[in-house]
Subunit: 144 residues, 2 copies
DNA sequence: GTGCGTGCAAATTCTTTGCAATGCA
DNA sequence: TGCATTGCAAAGAATTTGCACGCAC
C-alpha cells in the first residue's frame, strides 16, 4: 500500500525538510493520484490547491520526495518521467494499459529468476526493475 | 544473442526499407555497441563512419529500427531513451552498473511471478518489463 | 532571525517538424 | 525515374539554473 499524504509529510519532517504550502499541495496531488503522474500533471493538479505554485518547485519537490523514498519513478514505453507514491517496502508497479491506473505488489519472488539470469549471463545480479502491465479489474469488467 | 549488423540490414530489406549510407552507419554503431546507447551517442559514433549524418536521421532511424524489432528500448534510473540491439526472441536486458555493458537473457521464467502478481492485485497481467542490473564478470573480477 | 525554499525568467538540452534536395531501388 | 530518405534550420517541449525575496522553524 502506498504511503498516504500524512505519512509523506511525516517523512519530510523526519528528514528535517520543511513543510510549505507548495509541498503540501504537491504531496496531496501525488498521493491522491490513481495513476502515475508526470511533473506537468502534478503541476496542474497541485495548482488548484496552491495557485502561486511554480513549475520549478514541482520539479524540485518531486526530486526531493523521490530521494527520501516517498515516491518512485516509473517508466513506460512512452512516458519516461512519471511518479507514483511508493510503498514502504520493496515493490513493483503494475500499470493498467487502458486507464493508466497503478497498483503496487510487494509479494515478488524474483529469486528464481534472478538466479537463473545470473547463471545464464555470468553477471552478479544485484538489482531488478520489474514493471507489469495489463488490465485492471475495472477495465477488464467494462471491456466487452 | 542480439542481432548483428547483417541481420539488421536484412530485416530492413524485408520490410522494404532502403539501406542508405546513413542507416548503415547507425546500424553498425548500435550493433557494435557493448552497452546501451542513447541517440546522441549513436550520432557521435556513426558520424565517424558517415560525417554528413544528421542528428535528425539518427532519431528517425532508431525509431524505425525499433519498430521493426531490431532494437529494444531500455530504461534506467537516469537515462530514459537508450537502445540496445534486440535478440530474436522475447528477452530481458541485464545492465552492468559499473561499465554499462548490456547482455540479454532469454531464459526468463516469469510465469510464477506474473501469476502471483495477478492474484495479489486483481489485474490481468499481459506484459512484463524486466530489467536487471549488477556487475558483469569483467567488472566483478577487477573489483577488489 | 536564519536559512531553506520559492517564483520568475532565461538558459540549456533533447526531440520533432517542414521542406527542398538527394540518391537508392 | 519515382519516391523514400536526408540535412538543415527552426520550432517545440521538457528540464535546469541564477538570484533576490519570503516564510517555516
Amino acid at each position: 500500500m502506498p504511503l498516504d499524504a500524512e505519512q509523506i509529510v511525516h517523512a519530510l519532517n523526519d528528514r528535517g525538510l520543511r513543510l510549505t504550502r507548495q509541498r503540501r499541495a504537491v504531496v496531496d496531488a501525488v498521493a491522491g493520484a490513481s495513476s502515475s503522474v508526470s511533473p506537468l500533471q502534478v503541476f496542474d493538479a497541485a495548482r488548484a490547491a496552491c495557485p502561486e505554485l511554480g513549475l520549478t518547485t514541482v520539479y524540485r519537490t518531486l526530486e526531493a520526495l523521490s530521494e527520501i523514498g516517498a515516491l518512485r519513478r516509473v517508466h513506460g514505453p512512452d512516458h519516461c518521467e512519471a511518479f507514483v507514491p511508493a510503498g514502504a517496502a520493496h515493490g513493483h508497479t503494475v500499470v493498467c494499459s487502458r486507464c493508466g491506473s497503478v497498483v503496487e505488489f510487494t509479494d515478488c519472488d524474483m529469486h528464481a529468476v534472478v538466479v537463473a539470469a545470473g547463471e545464464q549471463t555470468g553477471y552478479r545480479i544485484t538489482e531488478h526493475f520489474l514493471q507489469l502491465s495489463g488490465e485492471c479489474p475495472a477495465c477488464a469488467a467494462e471491456g466487452t
